[in-house]
């Protein structure tokens, strides 16, 4: 497919003022970094919150320095109350799912690398791009503000099921102002994501340079494109749901509230709504959201594995097909979150079938990664280590899904730690491994300096072993039927499992501490790291043809022309084992 001539593409000149350069910048590279640092901030706060909830589970009476000041009611004297446990759990989940897993892999790396990888000067709508970031920033502010309002954050979890989330402060702490702010935050986040998705789709379709056919795009670009389509279709629904929730809370409507609700001794003035409606709307977004978090990781991992195996990615076309079918199927499975919700048991059975079918493309992709690694000349950079780690944790987490996809097994496993272990492994840890692989891979391009590989390896090893120590035991205690979202376990049968919780908490604190190695490496290398060459990884794609960091318009006024596929490794030409996508066309290389 021919792309547009360069003259038709928009053109803007480099800004000179500090504000236009670093704050309200329209440059996709700056916006990508802004998203990335927004996610770094969120993941830091989210991680600290996870420590607090893990500590509360095993040492409920411990005094935590500073917590009493943050919330005199939720943690009087620094000792967390059971409801503050739920408040922090809500913020942890919301931060991680929205502001980390949705933000960094797609809006962060995608913004930074997509235009360069397809040979464009910028995103299609640079001002819109700036707007998406700042709307997302406002959304983050609204969420963080819940920590500082009088009542604290909502106790309704990141899924905010009504009636708990909809009836207001009668239902418990944090459900007044905190829940309102939550709804506003998520609605704003949806707006930011929708604008971003539009930009990604148009950019990929319209701004590819000469020779960059769709099937020559790096798999990262395919992953970002498919994720953008998923975002466009699913965030629109979540936005509507948040507006309805806000109206139920503040305008007396009853979308999610039935008649006869007696909350805290008060009969509520609502009638005609259904709490199930929220669950349908939320999970119609929520399941594609899982893939919004992980599909960019698929792209990055396919890319990184190929580069560091010095081999073309195995089955490029098949991977594209799998990503497309995963994207399509992700809209047909939302009911598997609701097997026991009270919806018709016939639909429960129906939803389990596509849920199991979606494991076919996921399995194929995993096998193709293994096939890519097979027989390569593996270079164990930190990025590659996280790439290999990704395969391992994704397979582990994904297999847990085989159990949960079956409604009859869900009768026992639903709402237990088995579910917590499963989704943390498959969408949390795997996606974060994708981000780490991406960070160690693109950092030299983004900041013009290399990350320290020794620190990177230490970071990898502790993280890799650590996540298994945290999340594998969750599967075991899930088999015993230990419910999630309990701030303590009053049931005698659960007491023998407490040492497992202690083990997981210690593992979480250790693995968390290892992330400081990463944070240090990140900020230290930004200023003190070794200078990065243009193409440190001997990679083929367009971002490695430009200086590190790239100039404002990416290609310095030149118009790149692409003649080769994205993964031409393992060939011999001019003493190199790879062909740049922009190399002039010549004799077919011998392999």
């Amino acid at each position: 497919m021919e792309s547009m001539p360069m003259e038709v593409q928009h053109h803007h000149t480099a800004p000179t003022s500090f504000i236009r350069k670093y704050v309200f910048s329209v440059d996709h590279k700056v916006i990508g970094k802004q998203y990335y640092f927004l996610a770094i901030f969120s993941v830091f706060v989210g991680m600290v919150l996870s420590w607090l909830v893990r500590i509360h589970l095993v040492w409920p009476n411990i005094h935590i320095w500073g917590l009493g000041v943050l919330s005199p009611t939720g943690a009087p004297g620094g000792v967390m109350s059971p409801d503050y446990y739920l408040s922090l759990l809500t913020v942890h989940g919301t931060l991680m799912v929205f502001f980390v897993l949705t933000t960094a892999p797609q809006a962060g790396f995608g913004n930074y690398a997509l235009p360069i990888q397809i040979g464009a000067e910028d995103m299609a709508f640079p001002v819109l791009n700036m707007l998406s970031f700042w709307v997302t920033f406002l959304a983050l502010c609204a969420l963080v503000a819940t920590l500082f309002v009088k009542d604290g954050p909502p106790i309704s979890g990141w899924t905010a099921y009504p009636p708990l989330s909809a009836v207001g402060s009668d239902a418990g702490p944090g459900l007044g102002m905190g829940q309102n702010l939550w709804a506003v935050s998520i609605a704003l986040f949806c707006v930011g994501s929708l604008l971003g998705a539009l930009n990604f789709i148009v950019t990929t379709v319209d701004l590819r340079c000469k020779g960059m056919t769709l099937m020559r795009m790096p798999l990262t670009c395919w992953a970002w494109l498919i994720t953008a389509i998923l975002s466009l279709l699913s965030f629109a629904v979540l936005f509507a749901a948040c507006v309805l929730l806000f109206l139920d809370r503040n305008a007396g409507t009853s979308f999610f509230l039935p008649a006869g609700l007696l909350v805290n001794g008060k009969l509520q003035n609502h009638s005609g709504g259904s709490p199930l409606l929220w669950q349908h709307l939320f999970w119609f977004f929520g399941h594609p959201e899982v893939y919004i978090a992980i599909v960019p990781g698929f792209g990055v991992i396919s890319h990184v594995l190929s580069v560091f195996s010095r081999k073309p990615v195995l089955g490029y076309k098949v991977i594209v097909g799998c990503l497309l079918s995963i994207g399509f199927l992700s809209f047909t499975v939302w009911g598997h979150h609701m097997f026991l919700s009270g919806m018709s048991p016939y639909s429960g059975f129906l939803f389990s079938i596509p849920t199991l079918i979606i494991t076919i493309p996921a399995t194929i992709v995993s096998l193709l990664w293994l096939g890519t690694v097979y027989g390569g000349r593996l270079r164990f950079t930190t990025s590659m280590m996280f790439g290999l780690g990704f395969i391992s944790v994704f397979v582990t987490g994904g297999l847990g899904g085989m159990f949960l996809a079956q409604p009859s097994l869900d009768i026992f496993l639903h709402g237990t730690y088995f579910v917590v272990g499963h989704f943390h492994m498959v969408m949390g840890v795997a996606a974060i491994f994708g981000m780490f692989a991406g960070t160690y891979f693109w950092f030299p391009k983004m900041f013009g300096r290399m990350l320290n590989e020794k620190l990177g390896k230490v970071h990898f090893w502790i993280t890799f072993v650590g996540v298994y120590c945290i999340f594998m035991p969750m599967h075991f205690i899930g088999l015993e039927g230990m419910p999630r979202r309990y701030s303590s376990f009053v049931n005698d049968a659960m007491q023998p499992l407490m040492p497992v919780h202690t083990f997981m908490t210690i593992a979480a604190l250790t693995t968390g501490a290892a992330q400081f190695i990463f944070f240090f490496n990140l900020f230290w290398s930004m200023y003190k790291g070794a200078k990065a060459p243009d193409n440190p990884w001997e990679s083929t794609t367009l971002e490695w043809t430009v200086p590190s960091p790239p100039p404002f318009d990416n290609f310095g006024g030149k118009h790149p022309v692409v003649s080769y596929d994205a993964y031409e490794y393992g060939v011999t030409r001019n003493g190199k084992d790879y062909i740049m996508q922009t190399d002039p066309p010549g004799q077919p290389a011998s392999s």
């Binding site: 609700l261 805290n264 195995l314 919700s341 593996l378 159990f403 072993v465």
Partner: protein, 267 residues
């Protein structure tokens, strides 16, 4: 580095599988008629998942061990034997057979609980959940429940179900704080909630169902072992969620008759 990765991954895989297989942490002993089939289905799924888990992790470990680049390494790369084709076949056969098998087996278990009506001689008990307690109502000799009137619910006068005292169907209803049922007799529970989304989780019975306000959701099962079992709320319902529980007592037929007469006298 690749060799270390191979070793560490093999250790992780071995320990994980060993812990599962040792059954040190495993389901509580089943105490209902349908529960055995569910446990059986879990084991079948487990065997399928374990095969995939072990093969994938070990393949990754072996490849990382074997294919690391050495200094001055000029060996040509090797394409996976057969390319994409056999991997596709493997994925379709492995996952496809799992799907067919599991859906076939699983559908029966699910259907037994949800698609088939309860036995006609089932003991019916209505359950009402509210922040943060469960209450149970037996229909009494007439076999009929009166309606729940939300406006008449009053904890102070122990009218937990909002019973209208003038309603003849409600007159002989027996309201209790504990669920007791005779062993080996089918039970049908009618689940209601007065405020939040609650969960009704009975581990040993392999029973779980959300309870939603505005809906009455029926579930049925047959307890097969005498004993006292924990009923846990398993859907986040507020600050006291962790503490919302009740007990199911499965009794012999005689004990149950004594118990229900005693409860009736307390109304």
């Amino acid at each position: 580095m690749g060799k270390a990765f191979g070793v560490v991954l093999t250790i992780i895989t071995t320990i994980s599988v060993a812990i599962f297989v040792s059954r040190h942490w495993w389901f509580p002993e089943v105490a209902s008629a349908h529960g055995g089939a569910m446990d059986h289905q879990f084991v079948e799924t487990f065997v399928g998942a374990a095969i995939g888990f072990i093969l994938a992790q070990l393949a990754l470990a072996v490849f990382a061990w074997k294919y690391g680049e050495q200094k001055g390494d000029n060996r040509p790369i090797r394409i996976f034997p057969g390319g994409v084709k056999w991997l596709l076949v493997l994925a379709f056969v492995y996952v496809g057979s799992e799907i067919i098998l599991l859906e076939f087996v699983g559908q029966k278990v699910w259907a037994a609980m949800y698609f088939t009506p309860p036995a006609t001689d089932s003991l019916q008990v209505q359950v009402l959940a509210g922040q943060f307690a469960f209450y149970f109502r037996y229909p009494g000799p007439d076999g009929k429940f009166g309606p729940i009137h939300a406006d008449k619910i009053d904890e102070a006068s122990a009218n937990f179900f909002g019973i209208d005292p003038s309603d003849p169907a409600s007159k002989d209803d027996i309201v209790t704080a504990e669920l007791a049922v005779p062993v080996n007799k089918p039970v049908e529970l009618l689940l209601n909630s007065k405020d939040m989304d609650h969960g009704f989780y009975l581990r040993e019975m392999r029973v779980q169902q959300d309870m939603l306000p505005g809906m009455q959701i029926p579930i049925h099962f047959t307890p097969t072992k005498i004993g006292k079992y924990d009923i846990a709320c398993n859907q986040l319902c507020g600050l006291g969620h962790y503490n919302m529980r009740a007990f199911l007592e499965v009794m012999s037929e005689e004990d149950y008759q004594k118990w229900i007469v005693q409860q009736a006298s307390l109304q």
